[in-house]
Amino acid sequence: MSELFNKIEFFCQAYKKNSKKLLNFKIGSISNYYPQGIKVNIIVLDNKIENYTLLISDTSCKVVKGFSSSQLNLSALPDVWDKIFSGKYRVIKGIMEGKIKVRGIRSMVSPLIILSSLFYLYSEDFDNND
């Protein structure tokens, strides 16, 4: 598996470990907003196009290689994804700067804000700061 896949895996593990801490308020559960969870295709624009599908629900997070049917498709170059899953860059900023493309963004703003925040929050273990 690629280095990026490993970084997304790291994110998934960190999310699972911490999700209860972040979502420990009554209005915040992802399932309240998205009963099927948030499913996003992470498309890596490269010479060979590489795709991953990420599925996030209240307490679980899973990444698989390949493209799935999803309304949320994010495309970016490998270095952009690398920075995002290293906690050095964020999805919303990437969209505003034109470095991440989103199809059908009109109805996807809310999940994008959630994803952008979660990727940043759990790609580095910020909560260990003193």
Partner: protein, 488 residues
């Protein structure tokens, strides 16, 4: 008997609310709201963007009905609303409540329409409170949607409509028509447009449309009374998960005006606690900004998202191109750096000579935002803190705003700052509730005086404050307008 539509319920409240039925604490909050909004208009009138809008409106050559603040120049009601509201929002220096930035339309609309009609102070402040209550409920109804905060420009449509309807003395059928007319062309703020000078119209244009809707309704034009709750109506088209029942919940029983948060600095609500931290640290310690190695700002994930939307427009190159400070009101690094260097966060930090200053941007590059789970939970947990049981119950519609102790709300828009110096010394401060938010009171006279000093002769400042604080005694609101304008 046919059940009322939401707009008809709102209309009943708009027409029948009596000044004497409004709790004293709400009147007090509304007076502070006037102080805060007029101060923001004073400050906004001195910005480059504000001056363009003022000069353009003066060129319209409209009928003389109402005043531009602060000059006292007379123009039409609708142009007064457009100008005063737009200038008021210029520095993002206006209040917000559950849910929306209501003051920047509630106050200018009530003053402009009231002035044209020679309304009493009691009538004007009642209209202002009505606008707060209805705008806040409409904002809450679309809380779970793609937009947030000031981007909810459409709340000013209904605010303009209901405040003007009340002052014009429309009957219930006419008020419901005004709402139907105003919301028929709902404004939807485009994210990109929000980070340019044109952002100033986010409240003024919709408020103006709302006011005009009331005048059209008065003359017999009709709008859809079920525009809010219809399957293809406002809530369903504006929210991901519409909370329609909130729009007419507990009117006259629960007061969202109770939740008013007054801004004491220019900038988005999410930077308030962070600015508090830095200014408090400045009071306690002598921090040499030139010796700062880095600054860590701990904030919610929402602050991070806000910063990301604005970030591309906050570089010196972009600021030169856009020729406006607007995006800087939403950025943490610039706010932190400017506050550290200038030891204040006021309209001065958003003047061109400051926002193009490389020293501030160099320090801003040393600022890192760190999303904090606990702070995120505290902010996102504000609703449970005011005893809303669960989202499912909210959506079910069983819930009423009357079940919430809105007068007991604290707003936990927390933030924390750690400053690390070159010599290894660290300064840390956390602010749980920003100054000016419920739970951390602030004297709005300070903000008014700070901005009025640049506009009014000094001898006019105290009388202006007294007039606002005694608005209920004013027989003709024009008398108050004279006191807050510089050249009358």
């Amino acid at each position: 008997m046919t059940k009322n539509t939401v707009a008809e319920d709102i209309a009943e409240f708009v027409v029948n609310l009596k000044y004497k039925d409004i709790p004293n604490r709400i009147i007090k909050k509304a007076k502070d709201q006037i102080l805060g909004v007029i101060a923001a208009i004073y400050a906004g009138s001195l910005t480059d963007e504000g001056k363009i809008i003022i000069n353009t409106v003066k060129q319209f050559g409209d009928k003389e009905e109402s005043s531009l603040i602060p000059s006292g120049f007379k123009t039409s009601v609708r142009s007064s609303v457009l100008c005063n509201s737009s200038v008021g929002v210029a520095l993002d220096y206006v209040d917000y409540l559950l849910s929306g930035h209501t003051g920047v339309s509630a106050v200018p609309v009530s003053l402009a329409v009231g002035e044209s009609l020679n309304s009493t102070g009691k009538e004007v402040i009642t209209a202002q409170i009505i606008a707060n209550e209805i705008e806040g409920r409409l904002g809450t109804s679309v809380f779970l949607g793609p937009q947030n905060g000031q981007l909810w420009s459409y709340i000013h449509l209904i605010g303009g409509a209901v405040a003007a309807s009340r002052l014009l003395g429309l009957n219930e059928d006419q008020v419901a028509n005004a709402i139907g007319i105003a919301l028929a062309q709902s404004t939807y703020t485009i994210f990109r447009g929000y980070f340019a000078m044109a952002k100033l119209f986010v409240s003024g244009l919709p408020a103006q449309i709302g006011v005009q809707a009331a005048y059209f309704a008065k003359n017999g034009l009709r709008g859809a009374h079920d525009i809010i709750e219809h399957p293809l109506g406002f809530c369903n088209l504006m929210a991901d998960i519409p909370l329609k029942f909130i729009t007419n919940s507990a009117l006259g029983k629960a007061w969202v005006t109770d939740t008013l948060c007054y801004k004491i600095y220019p900038g988005c609500a999410y930077v308030d606690a962070i600015a508090d931290c830095i200014l408090d640290l400045h009071k306690e310690f002598d921090i040499n900004y030139k010796e700062i190695k880095r600054v860590e700002v701990f904030s919610s994930i929402l602050t991070t998202a806000m910063d990301d939307f604005a970030a591309p427009f906050t570089t010196i190159d972009s600021l030169k191109k856009e020729q406006t400070h607007v995006a800087l009101n939403f950025t943490v690094p610039y706010t932190v750096a400017a506050t550290l260097i200038d030891k204040e966060l006021t309209p001065r930090q958003f003047k061109k000579e400051r926002y193009l200053n490389p020293e501030i941007h160099n320090l801003a590059n040393k600022v890192k935002i760190i999303p904090d789970s606990k702070i995120s939970s505290e902010i996102l947990g504000t609703l449970p803190a005011i005893k809303i049981p669960s989202l499912k119950e909210i959506i079910s519609g069983k819930y009423s705003l009357a079940d919430i102790n809105l007068d007991d709300v604290t707003v936990a828009f927390a933030g924390a700052v750690k400053i690390i110096m070159n010599n290894g010394k660290k300064y840390y401060k956390k602010q749980n509730i920003p100054y000016g938010a419920p739970g951390n009171p602030y004297d709005l006279k300070k903000k008014f005086t700070q901005e009025a000093i640049n506009i009014l002769p000094s001898e006019k400042i105290d009388p202006a404050i007294r007039a606002i604080n005694n608005i209920e005694a004013i027989e003709n609101i024009g008398d108050l307008i004279q006191k807050i304008c510089s050249q009358i």
